[in-house]
Each structure stands twice: as structure tokens, then as C-alpha cells.
Amino acid sequence: MLHIINKSPLTNNSLDSCLRVAQPGGEILLIEDAVYAATSGNAFESKIREAMGRFKVYVLQPDLEARGLADRLIAGVSPVDYGGFVDLAASNNNCQSWL
């Protein structure tokens, strides 16, 4: 299952909720304001590192670049473009947008 997050983890609990509910084998894609969760030095960094042990974590690269943080991506988070987003939606059986 693909879990799509679009909120900064510092202003919204959607990533926390996703990490609580998502089951092993799930994949997480950070888009829009959720890309901040994938940047080093962010207060959420330890949580995302812990989550990376359980889930494959992706970030939408154009959103990261737009926000001036392409050089702060946490190692191990996989950048994808919109085509990669489509591939993730296709390869997973279903997806939940944590709006």
C-alpha cells in the first residue's frame, strides 16, 4: 500500500498518524509540504529515520527543489519525479492520501 503525505510534520499530525497505522510492506511518499520531513536537521529527522527501518520512503523531488531543500535530503530517502509517483501508485495495490 502507498501512503501519500502532503503536510509538514511540524504543523500537522498526518505523518505521525500514517506511521502509527501503516503496516509493514507499505511505502511512504512525501509530497508538497511533507517534503520538509525528509530534510536533515528537521526536528522530525529521528522519526523519519526510525520509519525508514520499517518502510521504504520516497520524496517528490520537484517539491523538494521548489522549496530550496534539494541539498538537505536525508540519505536513504529515494527521490522520485512525477513519473516515479505514477509508478508507485501503479505498483502498490492501493493508496491512501493522509489529507
Binding site: 508538497e32 520537484p62 512525477y82 513519473g83 509508478d87 501508485a89 493508496c95 492520501s97 489529507l99
Partner: protein
Amino acid sequence: MKFGIVVNEGPYQHQASDTAYLFCKAAIAKGHEVWRVFFYHDGVNNSSKLTEPPQDDRHIVNRWSKLNEEQGVDLVVCVAAALRRGIKEDNLAKGFRISGLGQLTEAGIQTDRTVVFGD
């Protein structure tokens, strides 16, 4: 693969509509079909032909219309949500159609994947 897309937010205010559009474009480029885009909640505002962004900005409404014209993507605006927000046939942009919520359920039934974009 057939995709159904749901857009829950209006243009410009939130990035959801942009992300949904770029997802659709990428899906089509990869040979997938975007079977329907369903506009719900404030997403219905994506269909107003009265939209006039500044000239140096993207025209979100026209971009959707073009997707319908060139790729045949079915653009459906929820009637109940639209009427609440002052969207009617009179001010509906080209390529969109107003219909019932059942069209959203139908998209879920007929497509292989449903992806929701919102706030």
C-alpha cells in the same frame, strides 16, 4: 493501467490541483489512461471559466480543459459541491461537465487505481 483522480481543493489556493495535473500528465506520458478526474469540495472551482490569473502565471483551468481536449480525459464536477459554490453550466469552462457524486463511485469501480489530491 486506468487511473481515477480526485481533486478536493481549488486552484491557486492549494497545491493539490497542480500536483494532480502533473500526475495526470506523467501517467499519460507513461502510457496509462486517466479515465476520469473528479472535482469535489472546493475542487469544483477548478472548472470556473471566469478564472483570470496574472499573465505570467499558469492557467490552471485552461490546463485542465486542454487535457480534456487533447487526451480525452473526462473532467467531472460534482453538482452538489458546485451549486454550493456558485459553479453552474453558465460559468463552466470548456471540457468540464457537471454531474452527480455517483460519478466518483463509478470511477472507483471502473479504474484500477484511485488517487486523491487534497488538503
